[in-house]
Subunit: 203 residues, 2 copies
């Protein structure tokens, strides 16, 4: 038989993701997840023994989404400036679709840092190729001397802060004008890339 509707497990995972993303582990309630999924609390435990296990089931995916995939773009055969534009553009697009992701990851990063470091290491992500790519640009005199770490920290910081600080930016700087905030984010897709490219340029 064809399952036309989502399986219970999927429904739970989706509900859990929604609630955990919004409230964080400490703020989330099993009851709220059950309500969101349209089932009862006990069923959550039938599928995922505990709150912790349920959380783990959604966390890895969410966290992986959070990490920008730098390496792929960095080793591709396009000019350096285009690489920056591509990474920033894709990353901000992802953030537009998952605006709660940064706050969620940051919160959990503070709660269980070791667990998350272990997760990154497990994935085998390796910044070495991207690092060498950047250092070659530096050596060739194409960009100012800067370590890969500083560069990537700058890039991510510039991309995520508008999402992290949304309440302040939208509520205070834009007097709760949602459209103004959205326009602001859209502007940043090119503005941030240009900002970085300009900052890296040698005078």
């Amino acid at each position: 038989m064809v399952e036309q509707e989502l399986s219970t497990e999927k429904v739970i995972l989706e509900a859990a993701k929604k609630v955990f993303l919004d409230k964080g582990f400490d703020g989330a309630r099993m009851q709220q997840i059950a309500d969101e999924a349209g089932i009862n609390k006990a069923l959550l435990h039938y599928y995922f023994r505990s709150k912790d296990k349920l959380f783990d089931a959604i966390f890895e995916g969410a966290f992986m989404q959070f990490l920008p995939n730098i390496s792929q773009v960095m080793v591709s055969d396009i000019p350096f400036a285009e690489k920056i534009r591509a990474i920033v553009g894709h990353y901000i697009d992802m953030l537009l679709e998952n605006p709660y992701l940064p706050v969620f990851v940051i919160r959990e990063l503070q709660r269980t840092p070791e667990k998350i470091i272990a997760l990154i290491k497990k994935t085998g992500i390796n910044p070495e190729s991207a690092n060498q790519m950047v250092q070659k640009e530096v050596a060739d005199g194409k960009i100012i001397p800067i370590s890969f770490t500083h560069l990537i920290v700058n890039l991510i910081g510039l991309c995520i802060f508008p999402f992290i600080g949304r309440p302040i930016i939208e509520g205070f700087m834009f007097n709760s004008d949602k459209d103004a905030y959205h326009k602001f984010i859209m502007e940043r897709k090119t503005l941030v890339a240009d900002f970085i490219i300009n900052a890296l340029q040698i005078k």
Copy 2:
């Protein structure tokens, strides 16, 4: 008579600040705060009727500390580049002394955004003078066209992300080498300012 030791209220506030900063409202426990203060749990309720009230008592101060004081520097009579250096330098110094502050504020900003927007508005902070200052630089052709909002969002994002992302940067990029992380932050005091100044320069 001279009170050589801190009053009970101060001790409680300090303990509360420490625990709330680390764990957030949802993660903090009254018992833990009492332990930290070396007093009885009931005494917390005697001084501050509820967890909410105790939280409010520490929040405003913490939040105000988080906001960089831009206006003061912006209207001062020094070259624009020096203003950027001053703001970034002071802000990173403050973050070095209060490394948990950004995550704390971000977490609570997500939990009760309205409350915090109201708080900012209450303080009467006004970005207008700083805004005009920046727009004059733009009009005079000293820097590229950029809105004050984009500029300040860039600046804050560049400053706070290394603190927010510390576990990843220190644990993953620097293989848990604390000294390397600290050196990295120190480098950023000048690097971030230079990065911004360079990015704003017209070619």
